[in-house]
């Protein structure tokens, strides 16, 4: 092969070699014509690195790519897509057939994990609801000026003919019969019987319980007794009173059991009683007794509430 150029030089002069590398013997003279080989090679290395650094520090980081980049991308892209499609195909084949070994076991574990998570989720939701209810009760407790005890509803009336339930607090917590029981929404009832760690509560919907109440808007007084589920009757309202459906009924505080102005419910209908002497109103209680879980027992002495504040004149 003839390595002689037209100008008399050698073709090998366009190449260079790193110091110590083997160079064909017939190139040697041409390479060393201009400068020593080692210096030239070092210069090239430095030039290229410097060029790289110049490009590195001078390029705009936010540019979408120059012509060279776009061209290279254009060339590489179809190949890269094909390669990726092939990879995906192989991966799919692997996942679909080969890696299925153990999937059943994994599926079982995942189902178990899902069941655990669902259980945890339900527990967290229950705690969240309880937290909300207790926060309401704490707010209510803060509003009262007298000591009170939070109790949980643990049982209901044994036979169901009466409207009573049981709470997990008793005489050891200072609870005595006739103490008022309330919830965040309003009046629940009063304590009927107590033992050390348990008490029975008679609800306002029980016919055996009567609560002295007022209509909040008109300040008319009446006696509230239980009638049916979540319903009560406000009796002995004065015939001339301007009581209307939708009016709020609150405790008067005159019975010495319930503090005054605790919400009891709202009036549904107003009618005359059988003897046509008084008006009576059906009242829907503020508390939904089928959903109640925590209550607040007001630790007032029997008859210990100051009833004078409830005897103010009409507005």
């Amino acid at each position: 092969m003839d390595h002689t150029r037209r100008d008399g030089g050698h073709i090998g002069s366009e190449y260079f070699a790193l110091p110590g590398s083997r160079v064909p013997p017939n190139w040697k003279g041409a390479c060393t014509d201009i400068m020593p080989r080692s210096i030239r090679d070092s210069a090239i290395v430095i030039f290229l690195i410097a060029g790289g650094l110049v490009i590195l520090f001078s390029s705009d980081k936010n540019s979408g790519g120059n012509v060279i980049t776009r061209t290279v991308y254009g060339i590489v892209s179809p190949v890269q897509r094909a390669a990726y499609a092939g990879y995906r195909h192989v991966r799919y084949t692997w996942d679909s057939y080969v890696a299925l070994v153990g999937v059943q076991e994994e599926n079982r574990n995942l189902k178990k994990q899902l069941a655990d998570l669902k259980r945890q989720h339900a527990a967290l939701l229950a705690e969240q609801r309880e937290n909300r209810r207790l926060r309401k009760l704490l707010n209510l407790k803060a509003q009262h000026e007298f000591p009170s005890v939070v109790a949980q509803v643990t049982g209901e009336d044994a036979v169901g003919w009466h409207r009573t339930f049981f709470i997990n607090r008793g005489s050891e917590d200072g609870i005595l019969p006739f103490m008022a029981v309330t919830a965040a929404e309003g009046v629940v009832g009063r304590i009927a019987k107590t033992s050390g760690e348990m008490s029975q509560v008679v609800l306002v919907t029980d016919p055996n319980l009567a609560v002295d109440c007022r209509v909040a808007r008109t300040r008319d007084r009446g006696v509230l007794t239980g009638a049916t589920e979540n319903k009560c009757v406000l009796k002995y309202l004065q015939p001339g009173s301007d009581v209307r459906p939708g009016d709020e009924v609150v405790t008067s505080g005159l019975d010495g059991i319930f503090p005054r102005d605790l919400p009891v419910g709202r009036i549904d209908t107003v009618s005359q009683d059988d003897q046509r002497l008084f008006l009576q109103a059906r009242v829907t209680t503020a508390v939904n007794f089928s959903e109640i879980e925590e209550v607040l027992v007001i630790l007032g002495e029997q008859g210990g509430f100051d009833i004078r504040s409830g005897m103010e004149s009409r507005p």
Binding site: V153, G155, E156, D157, A158, V159, G160, W161, H162, R163, T164, F166, A192, K193, Q200, V202, D206, P207, N208, A210, T225, A227, T228, E229, V233, S290
Partner: protein, 167 residues
Amino acid sequence: MREGVFLVALALTVCLVQISPAGSAVPMAYKPDLMLVAVIWASLRTRLETGMAFAFGGGMLMDMFSGSPAGLFVVIYCITFVVCAALNTTLSLDQPSVRMIAASMAAMASGAVILVTTWFSGPIDGGFLILFRMTGKSIITGIACLIAFPVLNRAMGAFSRVIGASQ
């Protein structure tokens, strides 16, 4: 004695189930009177003295754990026991249909007694709804009787096998 132990355990179990909110699948106003069912069962299966003691004790428990005046359920259950035991000598109360009717009638009668005693403390406003509730509760108690009798028979049988015959 052994029969008495079983009945004491039964009374406590029934009481716990009755006062537990989770123990009943129906609303409080319509839940079956399981103690009444147990008293009817006792009237057919046990001797008079132990059965009456069970009715008395069960009534005491129900009085304690309900809003009724003390002694009301004692009277109701004792009368129910005696009537059912007497009827069983002439009618065969052990047939499921008769048993169900007997339990429903007993529940209806006890409801009426409770209604009357409550009425004495003050007029009750409720009208037709109270009658509807009484009827519903009686029917549910009758249905509960159908389920409870085989369970109680099996429980008594298992207890006898483990502890020994009562005689």
